[in-house]
Amino acid sequence: MKYETVIGLEVHVELATKSKIFCSCSAEFGGEQNDHVCPACAGMPGMLPIVNKKVVDLGMTAGMMLNCDINRVTTFDKKSYYYPDLPNAYQTTQWFAPICVNGRVDIETSNGPKSIRIKQIHMEEDAGKLVHDDWTDTTLVDFNRTSVPLIEIVSQPDISSAEEAIAYLERLRDLLRFAKVSDCRWEQGSMRCDVNLSVRPVGSDKLGVRSEMKNMNSLSAISRAIKYEIARHTKAVENGETLIQDTRRWDDNEGKSYAMRSKETAGDYRYFPDPNIMPVVIDDEWFDGIKATLPELPEVKRAKYIDELGLSEYDADQLVSSRALCDVFEDAVAVCGSAKEAANWIITDCMQVLNKKKMTADMLDINGTSLGQLIKLVSEDKVSRGNAKRILAAMFENHIADVEAYAKEFGFIVSNDTSAIEAIVKEAIASDPKSVADFKAGKEKALMALFGKCMKQLKGNANPQVLREILIAEINKA
């Protein structure tokens, strides 16, 4: 008998907010233990949650990027939970009226295009961190991550292989990063995935017994875990064994999954509406405002960069790998008018600075308009390329609104004063008769030595062509 795999994914994404979902504590990753904590997220009695508007904004943005319907009246519910990393003994989440429903993500695999339906997206709070201390035989609790805002994106069981799962997750990550919903960093836990998987005979409309693997945080681990589970389920079904619906832990080093506990059913969570959080009503103004901020999809931008702006496929791919690069690029082109130049400056020079700082492309935070001004100054021969790189490095430290004024202030403007150049050239010739003689004897290289000396004296601020001409003229006179 032939079998097919049925996979549904639950993806948790930490939202790009400054503060937590129900209190004003910082939502930043890291920090000393319990440094981002207040009475509300520490679960002290009498504290009331107040919803962070940005969480709703980003929840809606995610829904729109994933073709969902937005529930215009959305509410929060309590889900029973008994671990101390959520001190209220419940998790505040959405069950009865989640913010988004009925979406779709289109993927490409070796079998061609496919649509994966989204069941819902709901907003909820993250749990804190537990550290087990063997010395005192106790558990230590850090509430920094408690109440950091998450969305959970629940797919329908439309995925049938590891390849499709990975294609879906990569597409999800691209769309959410592009819309600035989240930085989606697997390694920092800002994107995590639960895999629900079952196997059934081909053609059967009844789902097999399902297992759930929790909190997977790398694509390679997810792919390996899915392949392992498919083999485990298929073998059990073929041997007529009874599978138990359970929650499993994937051990990536061993390449095996282990049963953790038998799975709760929805009833076990005893969801009920949180009467302390009033319904959130999204009116047309709010809805349209968010819709207006949606970015063009990466593939639309890519086509535009190639067809309208004449970039190579390579350059376009590099730029659309990150929304931050696209934003800087488009602002720069609007000022300097040269797409090719702007792309080069971003892909080569900006990336070089980012790499040095051990930052990713998404962290590019310079002003595109300023970069455009800089590129223009170089193309007009007002600033040398070498000095332009120095100005670019300064842009990473401070916002420079008027690049020409900055270049003037710090002496980076190319001098058109030929008398100043002539004076320096004469000095160089007088101090290095050997190079002059060598050049006259036909050694081209000797000219470069003199050229370098003069350019150094001029702090790079001379038009190379003009300097060369004056140098040759003066040597001939000497």
């Binding site: 907010t17 400054k18 503060s19 004003s24 504590c25 910082s26 939502a27 930043e28 000393e32 233990q33 319990n34 440094d35 981002h36 904590v37 207040c38 009475p39 520490a42 107040i50 919803v51 962070n52 508007k53 940005k54 969480v55 709703v56 509410t75 029973s80 008994y82 671990y83 101390p84 537990l130 550290v131 087990h132 201390d133 005192t136 035989d137 106790t138 558990t139 230590l140 609790v141 850090d142 509430f143 953790m260 506990r261 076990d268 005893r270 509406p273 009467p275 959080i277 009033m278 319904p279 959130v280 009503v281």
Partner: protein
């Protein structure tokens, strides 16, 4: 309420009831069940479920991070704390 349901609720709520407490609770659920039966007789057709007593919506705030308390202030009343962590009995799953 039968004893099996109560046992299940105990497990879900991570409670361990004594025999005496179990008897007391069974009696309570018995009465509560009868009260619920009375409520069930009320005709609620076309009546919308009421969750929120106050007619309020959109109690929301802007995304601004503030630090209003220090860790020491918060842990002043903690039964147990260690190295800046809250300390709780060891967790076994």
């Amino acid at each position: 309420m039968d004893i099996k349901t109560l046992e299940r609720l105990q497990k879900l709520n991570q409670l361990k009831l004594t025999e005496e407490e179990t008897e007391k609770l069974m009696a309570f659920f018995e009465t509560a069940g009868k009260d619920a039966e009375i409520l069930d007789t009320v005709n609620t057709e076309n009546v919308e479920r009421m969750v929120y007593v106050m007619p309020m919506t959109n109690i929301i705030r802007e995304d601004i991070a503030k630090k209003l308390f220090t860790r020491d202030q918060l842990q002043e009343q903690a039964p147990e704390a260690m190295d800046g962590y809250w300390q709780v009995p060891r967790l076994v799953d």
